[in-house]
Amino acid sequence: MFNVVANRILWACLMMAAISVVAFTLIQLPPGDFVDSYVNHKQQGGVIMTKDEVAEMRGTLGLDRPMYVQYFDWVGGVVQGDFGFSWEFRRPVSEIIGERLPLTLILAFTTLLFTYLTAIPIGIYSAVRQYSVGDHVFTVLGYIGLATPNFMFALVLLYFAHVFFGTSAGGLFSAEFETAPWSWARIVDLLAHLWVPVVVLGTAGTAFQIRTMRATLLDELNKLYVTAARASGVSEFRLLIKYPVRMAINPIVSTIGWELTNIISGAPIVGIVLSLPDTGPLFVDALLNSDLYLAGALILIYCGLVIIGTLISDLLLIALDPRIRMGSTA
C-alpha cells in the first residue's frame, strides 16, 4: 500500500514539474517580450529609446539570459511564492492572485460538493426506479445539461433574473458587502449569490455523473448477489446501500479529479459572464493583454489544483477499494 501511495505522490510531483515547463513555454510563446511592448508604448508617447537603453533594460530585467536560466529563475521564485510582477496592475502577481484565489477555491469545492450530493441520490433513484417518470425527466434534463455550454446557461440565467426579478444574478456579493471585511453577514451574502455560478458550473458534471451512477448501479442490481441478499431477507434499503451502491460509487469517486478538471476549465468563462470577483476574469484579461506572468501563474495554479484533486481522488479510491490497495490493477 505504501508503494502505491508513494507512486501516486511521485507522479503528482512529476506532473507539476512538467506543467511548469508548459506554463513557462506558453508565457514565452507570444512574439516579443515585455521590453518590446514597453518600447512601443514609449514610442507612442513620443519618447524614443536608444538601443543601449533597451539593452540595459533587458539586462536589469534579466531578459537577455538564456531561456533555461530564465525558466529556473521563474520556477525558483514560484517555489518561494513569488510569481513575478504584473505589468498591467503594477503589483506582484502573488498579491493579486492572493485576493481572488480564495473565491475560486470556494467556488470549485462548492461545485464539486453540489455535483456529487445531487448526482449520487438522483443516480440511485433513476436506477432503482428505471423508466419511471422521474427517471425520464432526469434523463431529458441530463441531455440538455450536457449539451448546454456553461456560458450559455449563465447568460440565460442572467436574462431571466433580469426579466422576472429585475435583479442582476451576476457577482458574488451585494453592493454593500463588495469591499467589506469578512464577517458572518458577508458569508451569508456570499452563499446567497454563490448558488448561481455553482449551478451553472455543476450542471454538466452532475448530468454526466447521474448517467454513470445509473448505468453502473443498474449493472450491479442485475447481479446474482443482489438476488441472493434479497432472498435471505435483507431489507430493500439496506440491501441497496450496503452492496450495489458501494460498488457503483467506485467509478464515481475515481472521476473526482477529472470532474475538478472540468470545473476549473469552465470556471474562467462563467466568471466572466457572471462578473465574479474570482480569478476567471483576471485570467482571460491577462491573456488578452499579454500580462504574461499573471497568466502563467494562473495556468500553474489551475493545473496544480487539478493535480492535487486527482491525487486526493486516487488516495480516496485506495482507501475505498481493497483491490487497488493490494496493488493489483484489475
Binding site: 506532473m15 508548459v22 510563446l29 441531455y143 455550454p149 456560458f151 447568460l155 442572467l158 468563462i269 497568466a295
Partner: protein, 380 residues
C-alpha cells in the same frame, strides 16, 4: 442494397437460414442502429444542418456582413398568410416596417405598418454569389423581395442591423467544418500515436501513455485559451481559422489513441496477425490493413462523441474573443455579441445561436449513443 435483396430471396427460399446469419457486419450494425429512434432523429437533424449550411448562399437572404440600416437591433419578424382585414393570401407576406422617432427617447424605432404588405417572393433574383469556391455563380435566393427597401429578418438583427438568420446559416457551416476538420485531425493523431503505442508496446508505449495521461489531467480550456491568445493578432481570418482548428484537434485525440492502443495490444497476440507477419507484411500494413479495420466501428463512435466537445470548445473560445473573429462567423462569434448583458436584455434574440449549439450537441449525443450500441451488433 443489392446484396440485401439477394440475401432476402435466399433467406426466403431456404427457410432454415435466417436473415441475420447472412447479413454483413455493417448491415447488422445498421439494423441495430435503426432501432434507436433518438439516434435517427439526431442524425436527421445534423443532416439538415449540414444541408442548409452547405447551401447557405442560397437559403440565406443576406450575407453575414450585410446591414439593414433601417432595422438595427430589430426583433424577429414573423410572416403571415392572413392580413389585418382577415383576407387570406396564398403568398406569405410581412407587414411593412416604418421607422418612427420615439417622442420621449428620440430614438428611431421601427414600427409595424399593417396597411402595407411586402409579399415574399421565392427563388428570387437578387445579390450575386459564388458557391463552392467560385465553381457555381448564381443570384437566385430561396426567398427575398423584388424591391430593395423591403426586408425580412426571420430571427431579428444585431446592433449593426445584420440578419441573424443568415448569419446562423453561415456560422453553422464554419462551426461544423471546424468540428469535422478537428475530428479528422484528432483521428489521424489518435491512430498514429495510439497505433505506435499499442503495436510496439514497451518503452514507446510507456512514453505515449504518460503523455496522454498528462494531457488528460490538465484543465484544457485555460491551456487552449493561452495557446489561442498566443496567435499573432495581425493574422488573417483564414490563418486564425486553421490554427484554431489545429488547437482544438489537440483535445480529441487522447481518447481515440487509448482505444486504438488497447485494441492493438489485445489483437497483437491473435493468430491472424501472426499469419500476416509470417507472410512478410510490413508493420504499417499489418496495423492499417489487418488490425484497424477489425475495430473501425468503435473508432467512428469515439469520433462522433468527440465532435460536440470540439464544437463546444470552439464556441467557448470565440465567445471570449480568443477564437474565430469577424468577418468569419461561427456560433461562438455570434454569441460574442451577447456577452454584453445590456445588449442581451435589449435583444434576447442574440441568444438564438446558442439554441442552435445546444440542438446540435444534443443531436450529436443521441447519434453517438445509437452508434455506441450499434458498434457491437452481436451483443443483445
Amino acid at each position: 442494397m443489392a446484396s440485401a435483396g439477394t440475401n432476402a430471396t435466399v433467406a426466403a427460399r431456404t427457410a432454415a437460414v435466417r436473415l441475420t446469419d447472412t447479413a454483413t457486419h455493417w448491415q447488422l450494425m445498421w439494423w441495430k442502429f435503426r432501432r434507436h429512434k433518438m439516434a435517427l432523429l439526431g442524425g436527421g437533424i445534423l443532416a439538415l444542418m449540414v444541408f442548409f449550411s452547405l447551401f447557405a448562399e442560397f437559403f440565406a437572404p443576406y450575407t453575414p456582413q450585410e446591414r439593414t440600416a433601417k432595422y438595427t437591433q430589430g426583433a424577429p419578424m414573423g410572416f403571415h398568410f392572413i392580413d389585418a382585414e382577415g383576407s387570406i393570401h396564398l403568398r406569405p407576406f410581412v407587414y411593412a416596417r416604418v421607422t418612427k422617432r420615439d417622442k420621449v427617447t428620440l430614438r428611431l424605432v421601427p414600427t409595424v405598418d399593417t396597411t402595407t404588405r411586402w409579399p415574399i417572393k421565392f427563388f428570387v433574383r437578387s445579390d450575386d454569389y459564388k458557391w463552392m469556391w467560385g465553381l457555381i455563380e448564381s443570384d437566385i435566393h430561396f426567398f427575398g423581395f423584388e424591391e430593395r427597401k423591403e426586408f425580412l429578418h426571420l430571427l431579428g438583427t444585431d446592433q449593426l442591423g445584420r440578419d441573424i438568420f443568415s448569419r446562423i446559416l453561415y456560422a453553422t457551416r464554419t462551426s461544423l467544418s471546424i468540428g469535422a476538420i478537428g475530428v479528422l485531425l484528432s483521428f489521424v493523431l489518435g491512430i498514429v500515436l495510439g497505433g505506435i503505442a499499442g503495436y510496439f508496446g514497451g518503452m514507446v508505449d510507456n512514453l505515449i501513455m504518460r503523455l496522454i495521461e498528462f494531457i488528460r489531467s490538465v484543465p484544457t480550456l485555460p491551456l487552449w485559451l493561452a495557446l489561442a491568445a498566443a496567435l499573432p493578432r495581425e493574422w488573417t481570418a483564414l490563418q486564425v481559422y486553421i490554427s484554431i482548428t489545429a488547437i482544438l484537434a489537440l483535445i480529441g485525440w487522447t481518447h481515440l489513441a487509448r482505444r486504438v492502443r488497447g485494441k492493438l495490444l489485445s489483437l497483437r497476440e491473435e493468430e491472424f496477425v501472426l499469419a500476416a507477419r509470417l507472410s512478410g507484411c510490413s508493420h504499417a500494413r499489418i496495423v492499417a490493413r489487418h488490425m484497424l479495420p477489425s475495430f473501425m466501428s468503435y473508432m467512428i463512435v469515439d469520433l462522433t462523441i468527440s465532435f460536440p466537445y470540439i464544437i463546444m470548445a470552439e464556441t467557448a473560445l470565440s465567445f471570449l474573443g480568443l477564437g474565430m473573429r469577424e468577418p468569419i462567423v461561427s456560433w461562438g462569434v455570434l454569441l460574442y455579441s451577447a456577452q454584453n448583458i445590456r445588449s442581451m436584455i435589449l435583444m434576447p434574440w442574440l441568444l438564438i445561436p446558442g439554441l442552435v449549439v445546444i440542438i446540435a450537441v444534443i443531436a450529436f449525443n443521441f447519434l453517438g449513443d445509437g452508434m455506441r450500441d450499434a458498434a457491437d451488433p452481436y451483443s443483445q
